[in-house]
Point group: D2
Chain length 144, copies 4
């Protein structure tokens, strides 16, 4: 396995960064939390909250997309540091199974971090159940 | 051009359906509104609202994804009627330019509506500006 | 509609370019031909040939992908000129219906042509039948 | 880790199947070979051959797409047996680095194998080098 270098941002840094630059994540309370960050990796948790739900108590697709998008952004910052102008250029998600009515975990890693583009993937599963609920690949454009 | 049949649901029906089954769309007020619905087509508007924003006043990626997802769902219902179990299986978005700080429009149409799968596309642009901000393709699985 | 500028390359130029730089397109004969090129647009034809087939006489998925990839490349050259180092970074195809056993047409246009990235789409249909067989979106990275 | 059941098809079966139903794979000789097959997994090799090349000796994008498409198909057959009507509905590839001028390996696994849809991923790398060259996700529709 590749030996990854240390993350450019640590957990308290990223927490402060998100609260300052992404206040919308906290508009419904403490729903999103970073559980681990590495050099191009991240584990993020989304609490189960009624603002994320569809009829029948299932998590909405856009809620899962929001989780994956921010988790992939955090993982990228773990590799390149606080570069606020990195922008998503492509985001593609496959929904694989109905999520359980509980918190959701996104595990992210980067397949490539180049000078101009970074490509990452996120595996989403219900907390306490390893079965994949959704799989994301996304591309970020990194400013010079 | 193909002559499309009439929509299976009309504007008041879809509005009532969304308020009943997608109350989360209205949690921040009257942000999402269906402007037109046809047989596999839809125009939906997302008002500019602080819950959708990123630093600098730009619309967040997940807000645009949420708009496209619900607009494509509405367009599908316009073709197949109120089938609440249709589920997104794939959703892929390309972000093309920074959106203006104003309302956003999603224009949707379906490329295919089969017995089991439907594939649609959504073009997103800022209200009053035809330049594409994002382009989405998505696949929905239709229950028997 | 947008008034597009003239193409940077004309039909004889692109034909000569493909024969010189993409000889593999011609290894089975005159299968691929550019029918029209514009500034970010292209219509390309792939003749029906046994090297492209799957059991039952249907065109193979990879044959359609090859057609779309080269057609999108040609359309990009029509906008930016002969830049041989533009590379595909993402290519996503939805297959919509079984193609007829005949020639296939790819119609391409670009949704965005930026300084670093270009995003195009291709609509594939059987010759003489407007019904979509496949839809492609692809991203190209443009060297400085 | 999940304990996978045995494959429904073994290496000699799949080899015979491909030669019978996919003769186009062999039109330039023994270029494609299945190195391993499991229940929803497959390792496939594509020899370095001039029919796959682009200017400068690099492998063409469509050649890599063809490798991934057939490898994912083989991995699916390893899970569901010889179901010749399974069709690709979506195929999405991210190109990550320039491949070396040598044979290429595709390692596939399935994220989901449902009754109607299967979603797999393929990691492509140059033989003898673990660095990812491309990453694919694809969806297959399984007939009843």
């Amino acid at each position: 396995m590749t030996q990854y270098p240390l993350p450019k941002l640590k957990l308290p840094d990223i927490d402060a960064f998100l609260r300052r630059d992404f206040p919308q994540l906290y508009v419904h309370g403490e729903i999103f939390s970073v559980q681990a960050i590495g050099h191009g990796t991240c584990r993020m948790r989304m609490a189960y909250h009624e603002s994320q739900l569809r009829p029948g108590g299932t998590l909405s697709g856009p809620a899962m997309m929001a989780l994956a998008d921010v988790a992939l952004y955090v993982a990228l910052l773990g590799a390149i540091g606080e570069v606020p102008l990195a922008v998503t250029t492509n985001f593609s998600i496959n929904f694989l199974k109905k999520p359980d009515p509980c918190a959701m975990i996104a595990d992210c890693r980067y397949l490539k971090i180049g000078k101009r583009l970074a490509v990452g993937e996120a595996n989403l599963h219900s907390e306490g159940d390893d079965a994949l609920v959704a799989h994301v690949t996304a591309t970020y454009s990194i400013p010079r």
